[in-house]
């Protein structure tokens, strides 16, 4: 390949690659698959927001959790494509499931819904049991610790819970039609044996595959002001959420920040 041909091929490759990425973005954003309101509880400021001078970009990081009543069981794992033919009690089971590779799936995140309320109710019940002397073995395992954590979660805990997963996002959307409460995103799921005797087969979700939600400059003023005005001691653990983010997701189940709004202290909004 001569220099001239190489130059043309290189320029063509740059153009085609950028065209494909931007075309994919345009296709994704040409229709809103979901539009959901989250707060700092569900989309937190990144760890480096206050201290990394070398990175001026800002991507809010997902904060979500799995409900305590777990649905990612053997049947669901089979549905997701895992081979679950070896019984959990089999001597080969640990080796067999440790060998399974993670699979790409779509997960459904529910915002401030039934799963969150049930989760809180379960924990309140656990607290009551603990006050009667039947505390769990794992932390938190004293009434004081449990109450503190419950209060903190009521104020700042994420209300975004993973409630389902599947390989067909359209089927998931049919099952969860509320586009302002349920977000379908790409994730990854792995399989493992849990429990003290490692006999309980369960899946572990990780994701979303899109690591964070990038905040464009036009939406930054609200967040920049928060970063600037937050005293040192309040940076790690705010007492209440300080901003609200409207997140949209498109045809390719890729999200973007559509609006950022200040909570309290006189509302300020930035949108695109």
């Amino acid at each position: 390949m001569t220099g001239r041909r190489g130059l043309l091929a290189g320029l063509a490759l740059i153009a085609v690659t950028n065209g494909m990425i931007l075309g994919g973005v345009a296709w994704n954003r040409s229709a809103e698959e979901a539009r959901i309101e989250l707060t700092e509880r569900e989309l937190a400021l990144p760890w480096n927001a206050f201290r990394d001078d070398d990175d001026s970009g800002l991507a809010l990081r997902w904060s979500w959790r799995r409900p305590r009543a777990d649905w990612l069981d053997r049947d669901k794992l089979r549905e997701l494509g895992f081979d679950v033919s070896v019984p959990s009690g089999d001597p080969q089971a640990e080796d067999f499931y440790a060998h399974a590779l993670p699979r790409e799936v779509f997960m459904v995140l529910e915002m401030d819904g039934e799963a969150w309320r049930r989760d809180l109710a379960d924990r309140e019940e656990e607290l009551r049991k603990c006050m009667r002397g039947r505390c769990p073995e794992e932390y938190p395992n004293t009434p004081e610790e449990m109450r503190t954590q419950l209060d903190q979660d009521r104020r700042m805990g994420s209300r975004l819970l993973a409630v389902d997963a599947g390989t067909d996002p359209e089927e998931l959307r049919r099952r969860y039609p509320d586009r302002s409460r349920h977000l379908v995103l790409r994730a990854s799921v792995s399989i493992h044996l849990a429990g003290q005797e490692r006999k309980l087969l369960e899946g572990r979700l990780s994701g979303p595959q899109v690591g964070g939600v990038h905040v464009p400059r036009s939406l930054r003023p609200v967040l920049d002001e928060i970063v600037r005005n937050t005293p040192q001691e309040a940076r790690e653990a705010p007492k209440a959420p300080r901003y609200r983010v409207t997140v949209a997701a498109g045809r390719r189940y890729e999200p973007w920040a559509a609006e950022v709004e200040r909570i309290g202290e006189g509302l300020r909004t930035a949108s695109r």
Binding site: G6, I21, D53, V210, H214
Partner: protein
């Protein structure tokens, strides 16, 4: 007097080898004459000297080759300086974009990310035309590659695009385009490794697994290693003869590295027949056999890079085995004594191999 045939040198590597042969011929002829073994008639001496002068001038003009030892040493210095400079410039481009891109609006970010690699590519092309040694083209080419990696990675970040192994294909192709256009072996190696990663990720998706799991199954890299090794056999590199060794050395390394990993971590294998130990033993045998085969083929074909890479892996397999057998119970001084003695034994073996290679005609089969 016949016209010099520098036109047969297709690449800078070949031209440099020809210049080196002329320099060696001149030195040897001077020694033979001094020792009274040979005395060329004056007319022939003048003809040969004039022929070489014209040839060297032509090679220097077309390929910027080094015609003296001093120039050669300076060239090495320049090569090291251009490599370090390229790394520093690439890091500078990375940190510059990261530091300021958050302050820019999205269309400006997109424009900068797309235009930066194109500008750097134009710069590399300009440098290649102005300066035949290729140092500046190599330096700017590495910056162009870094800009292109940033282009794809940051566009993905800005628009929250799901990460995909397709990025490795684009990066690999870009590295290869720059390498073939301007004769840059470093970018050839980087591009080939990127393509190996792409192939491995693509293969793992055939099992239904997430593409990011490719490193959990090192066997997915074995086909890439074989393909790299076979490429110069299937596609002759006449114009870029110095690229064939890069393919072969990387081919051996990309094949043997996963074998080395699996020889010590059987759980990472696709193979489920028997216990982890059985798999590890199988890969240890394969590792020893394949690295010994690489040394043997390298000696037979005169491929020094294959001999060297095979030797490194053979010793690595051997030391890994020693560690496995003896580390827990053997006194440390004895363990390291044995390791040192095996290194000495390897030296003796390689010296023998070198003498076999020296007996063969230089260059060997391409």
């Amino acid at each position: 007097m016949p016209e010099p045939v520098a036109g047969t040198a297709g690449s800078k590597g070949e031209a440099q080898r020809r210049a080196d042969r002329i320099s060696a011929f001149r030195a040897e002829l001077a020694s033979l004459e001094r020792e009274g073994v040979l005395a060329l008639p004056e007319e022939q001496r003048v003809r040969v000297a004039a022929y070489h002068e014209v040839l060297l001038r032509d090679l220097a003009e077309r390929f910027d080759v080094d015609v003296s030892e001093g120039e050669k040493q300076l060239s090495w210095g320049m090569r090291i300086a251009s490599f370090l400079g390229a790394l520093a410039l690439a890091a500078s481009a990375f940190f510059f974009i990261r530091r300021f891109w958050g302050m820019l609006d999205t269309p400006v970010q997109v424009a900068i990310l797309a235009v930066a690699p194109a500008l750097a590519l134009l710069g590399a092309d300009f440098a290649a035309r102005r300066e035949r040694s290729g140092y500046f083209a190599g330096l700017i080419g590495l910056v162009a590659s870094t800009c292109f990696v940033l282009n794809v990675a940051l566009l993905g970040e800005i628009f929250n695009v799901t990460p995909s192994y397709g990025a490795f294909l684009a990066w690999g192709a870009f590295g290869l385009i720059l390498a073939y256009a301007y004769g840059l072996r470093l970018l050839l190696a980087a591009g080939l490794l990127s393509l190996a990663d792409w192939l491995s990720s693509w293969l793992i998706t055939w099992t239904g697994a997430d593409w990011t799991a490719s490193w959990e199954r090192p066997e997915t890299f074995l086909p890439a290693g074989l393909l790299l090794f076979a490429t110069p056999l299937l596609v002759p590199h006449r114009r870029r003869a110095d690229f064939a060794p890069v393919y072969r050395a990387l081919g051996v390394a990309v094949f043997l590295f996963p074998v080395l990993v699996l020889a010590n971590w059987g759980e990472g294998s696709f193979w489920r027949a028997g216990e982890g130990d059985t798999i590890e033993i199988a890969y240890q045998i394969l590792g020893f056999a394949a690295s010994a085969a690489a040394i043997w083929i390298g000696i037979r074909r005169g491929w020094r890079e294959v001999v060297h890479t095979g030797s490194v892996f053979f010793v690595a397999f051997l030391w890994a085995k020693f560690l496995d057998w003896w580390w827990d119970w053997m006194p440390r001084y004895l363990f390291f004594l044995i390791v040192g003695l095996t290194a000495a034994a390897a030296l003796v073996a390689l010296k023998k191999a070198r003498s076999v290679m020296a007996a063969r005609p230089a260059g060997g089969a391409a």
